[in-house]
Assembly symmetry: C2
Homo-oligomer: 123 residues x 2
DNA sequence: CGGTATCCCCAGGGATACTG
DNA sequence: CAGTATCCCTGGGGATACCG
């Protein structure tokens, strides 16, 4: 097996891709909400504090494209669109959960490190 | 305990912070390299393909500020600076490992979903 | 209701030159 | 060697207006 093969990205690149996917400004919030239950567009918009209509659309389109979210249109009047996590999306939640635990466990340490660093820089 | 307390960020925000920290363009590559052993500045620069001097500096400063990396200066001529992961940085590696496994396991699914989505969009 | 389309701004990040 | 300083450009993302 060739490690330099351009068609087989390194693990680093794969991790980078995942982070690029899920590390944008809004994805985590949307995914977190959909973890509980399917939601409609404006319902999400109201729930995700501060998101613009444009960014909600882009975020959902991206998730849909990667197979993490399904978009279901009910051809009623007025139209109704439901967004829901796919099975793949559910597995992503597990990853984020792990990240959340790490964040909670280590935030005090990080905050302290930051304060110490900034104090040194300011002197 | 109050969940709406502004001094206690939601878990979503914490995850978002971690992702913002580690989800930038270069951090994963640098952290991955330092996981093996401490490295010098230009050594890192050569190892991380395509990174600019400026961005390597900024990335390392950020990691140092958050207590994930230590910076050790040896006052020799020419100067020598070693960067190494802290214990906290090591725990981060564990998280990234998990992300990497998820990425490897699910990439085929994601690639397929993307192809399918793009095919629909193009028709 | 659930979007597109358009305009605009600013931070992330590259290239280059200079320094202790 | 290990940076800082400066310039510049792209694209992420907000605000607003319009559409089926």
């Amino acid at each position: 097996m060739s490690l330099g093969n351009k068609h087989e990205p390194t693990q680093c690149q794969l991790v980078g891709d995942v982070l690029a996917r899920v590390g944008d400004k809004w994805t985590v919030f949307v995914v977190r909400l959909l973890a509980d239950r399917p939601m409609r567009f404006n319902e999400l918009k109201r729930a995700v504090d501060g998101i613009s209509q444009r960014m909600l659309t882009l975020t959902l389109r991206g998730l849909e494209r990667d197979g993490l979210v399904t978009r279901t249109v009910y051809p009623t009047v007025p139209p109704r669109v439901d967004y829901a996590l796919t099975d793949l999306g559910q597995t992503l939640i597990t990853m984020l959960q792990g990240l959340g635990e790490w964040a909670i466990a280590n935030r005090p340490t990080i905050v302290a490190a930051r304060a110490a660093y900034d104090a040194r820089a300011a002197e």
